[in-house]
C-alpha cells in the first residue's frame, strides 16, 4: 500500500509514468488477444481468451481504478459482484446442462412418434402371435411400473396408488371387462388412477390389449361387431380404428417446440 499518510487531501496520485506503462501493457495484451484468437487451441480457446481479458481487467481495476493503492474494502465490495454473478451462472447452467435430451441439436423424432410410421398390422383388433409379441414389448416399456413384470398389479409405483392397479393374472374384478375391445377402451380413456394412453398409436393399444389378455386365465370371449363399433372400429375397414388422439406426449411437444 502506498498511502504515506492519512491527512485530509493527501491521496495516492497515479504517476504519469505508471499510467503510461499501464496503457502500454493493456495495448500489448490487446494485440495478444487478437493474435491468440487466430490460433486454434481447441477447447482452450475460450478459457485463454477469458484469461487474457481478465488480466487486462485486473490491471484496469487495480491501477487505473486505484484498488491497489487503497485498503481492501472496495476490492471486497467489487469482488462480491463477481461472486454472485458466478452463482447466477452456475445454478442456471446447473439446470440447463442437466435437462436430458431437450437441448440436443437437430430434429428429434421421439420413439413414440417414430413408431407411428406405416402400420405393421392392418387389422390390429385381430389376435395373432405377432401382435401379442409386439404387445409384450410395449408392456415392458409402458406398463410394468404399475402393473408389475407379470401383470399382477404389484409394480413399484403401485404402492402409492389407490385403487391398486389391475391384477391381470386373475379373471375377476375387471371393471370394464376383459374383451380385447374393452381393454382397448380402458387404455384409450384411462380409469381411476391409470392415465389415458390415447396418445399411443391405436395398433399399439390393440397389441397391449391382446397381450394383457394372455396374462390371465384363458378367455374365449371375442369382440363382436358391436363391441368393435363401440371403440370406433369398422371391421370391414383396414387400419387401427379409434385413431390415436390428436395429441403427443408432453416431452415430445416441448422438444418439438424448442427445436422449431
Amino acid at each position: 500500500m502506498s498511502h504515506h499518510d492519512h491527512h485530509e487531501g493527501h491521496h495516492h496520485v497515479l504517476s504519469d509514468s505508471t499510467a503510461l506503462k499501464t496503457i502500454l501493457a493493456l495495448l500489448s495484451l490487446t494485440v495478444i488477444t487478437v493474435a491468440i484468437a487466430r490460433v486454434d487451441l481447441g477447447v482452450l480457446n475460450f478459457p485463454v481468451a477469458m484469461f487474457v481479458a481478465s488480466v487486462k481487467a485486473v490491471i484496469v481495476c487495480s491501477i487505473f481504478m486505484g484498488l491497489k493503492y487503497e485498503n481492501r474494502e472496495n476490492t471486497v465490495i467489487f469482488s462480491t459482484s463477481l461472486l454472485f454473478m458466478l452463482i447466477f451462472f452456475i445454478l442456471t447452467f446447473g439446470d440447463l446442462l442437466t435437462r436430458g435430451d431437450v437441448y440436443v441439436k437437430g430434429q428429434i423424432i421421439p420413439a413414440e412418434l417414430q413408431a407411428a410410421g406405416p402400420s405393421k398390422f392392418s387389422k390390429p383388433w385381430i389376435e395373432s402371435p405377432e401382435i401379442i409379441a409386439h404387445g409384450k414389448g410395449l408392456f415392458a416399456a409402458q406398463c410394468t411400473s404399475c402393473h408389475g413384470d407379470g401383470g399382477a398389479g404389484n409394480g413399484p409405483a403401485a404402492a402409492g396408488l389407490n385403487p391398486k392397479p389391475r391384477n391381470f393374472t386373475v379373471g375377476e374384478g375387471w371393471k370394464n371387462g376383459r374383451k380385447g375391445s374393452q381393454i382397448f377402451g380402458t387404455l384409450t380413456k384411462g380409469l381411476n388412477t391409470m392415465p389415458a394412453f390415447g396418445s399411443l398409436p391405436s395398433e399399439d393399444r390393440w397389441a397391449l390389449a391382446h397381450y394383457v389378455r394372455t396374462l390371465g386365465p384363458h378367455s374365449a370371449e371375442k369382440d363382436s361387431d358391436a363391441d368393435l363399433a363401440k371403440v370406433g372400429v369398422d371391421p370391414n375397414q383396414e387400419g387401427g380404428g379409434g385413431s390415436a388422439e390428436k395429441s403427443i406426449p408432453l416431452e415430445a411437444a416441448i422438444e418439438i417446440l424448442s427445436e422449431s
Partner: protein, 218 residues
C-alpha cells in the same frame, strides 16, 4: 456551492461528514457499490450470451463472422486509450492542474466519440444487411441457420446498453470539463473527477470482455 477561488478545489464538505476526507471516501465507496450493480446488470446479458454459445456453438460461430473484428479491435484500442487519458485527467485534478484536466478530459471525450462513430458504422451496416435481433432478422445468407436472430439480439442489447453507458459518460465528461475549467478541483477536492474516472474505467472493463466474446469467438 461551486467556487471560483484562487486556490484550486476549495469547498466546504457536506455538514453530515466530519471532514472532506470522510466525504471523499464515502463517495468513492458509493461509486464502487454502484459499479457492483452494473456488474450484476450486465451479468444477465453475459449469461444469455453464454447459453447461446454453449448450446448453439455452430450458430454463434456462423453469426459472429458478420462482425468485423478489426472495427471491434479499433474500438478496444480507442477505449483503452480513453482510460489512460481519463487516468491522466484524474491525476491532474489531484494536482490542481486545471488546464491539464480539461485537455485530458477532452481527449477522453474524443476517444469516446471515435468509439461511438465506429459503433454507428457497425450498426448501420448491420441494419442495412438485415442482421437484426430475433424476429427482425432478415440477412439472407444466414436465414437458414436456426436461432441466428438470437445471436444478434444478444449482440445488439449488449453493445447497445454498453454504448448507452458510453454516451452517458460523454455527457458526464462535458459536465466535469466545465467544472474543471472553472478551477473547481484541486488536492483538497477532486471527488467528481475521480468518480467519473471510476465510471469510465468500468465502461472500458465491460468492453474488454465484450470484444473477445462477440468478435473473436472461433
Amino acid at each position: 456551492m461551486g467556487s471560483t477561488t484562487s486556490v484550486a478545489g476549495q469547498r466546504q464538505h457536506a455538514h453530515h461528514f466530519k471532514n472532506g476526507r470522510e466525504e471523499f471516501e464515502a463517495c468513492k465507496q458509493g461509486m464502487w457499490i454502484f459499479l457492483v450493480t452494473e456488474v450484476l446488470f450486465f451479468s444477465g446479458l453475459f449469461l444469455a450470451y453464454a447459453i447461446l454459445r454453449v448450446f448453439y456453438p455452430e450458430m454463434v460461430a456462423a453469426a459472429h463472422h458478420e462482425l468485423d473484428w478489426k472495427m471491434g479491435g479499433l474500438n478496444t484500442v480507442v477505449l483503452l486509450i480513453s482510460s489512460w487519458t481519463m487516468a491522466r485527467a484524474v491525476s491532474a485534478a489531484q494536482r490542481g492542474q486545471a488546464q491539464k484536466v480539461v485537455s485530458f478530459l477532452l481527449a477522453t471525450f474524443i476517444c469516446a466519440g471515435i468509439f461511438m462513430c465506429v459503433k454507428y458504422m457497425e450498426y448501420s451496416h448491420k441494419i442495412h444487411e438485415g442482421l437484426l435481433p430475433g424476429s427482425l432478422f432478415s440477412f439472407k445468407d444466414l436465414l437458414s441457420v436456426d436461432k441466428v436472430g438470437l445471436f444478434f439480439s444478444v449482440y445488439f442489447v449488449m453493445t447497445g446498453i454498453h454504448g448507452l453507458h458510453v454516451l452517458i459518460g460523454m455527457g458526464l465528461i462535458l459536465w466535469i470539463m466545465k467544472r474543471a475549467s472553472r478551477n473547481e478541483f484541486g488536492p483538497n477536492y477532486f471527488t467528481p473527477v475521480e468518480m467519473l474516472g471510476l465510471y469510465w474505467h468500468f465502461v472500458d472493463l465491460v468492453w474488454i470482455y465484450l470484444f473477445p466474446l462477440l468478435y473473436l469467438v472461433s
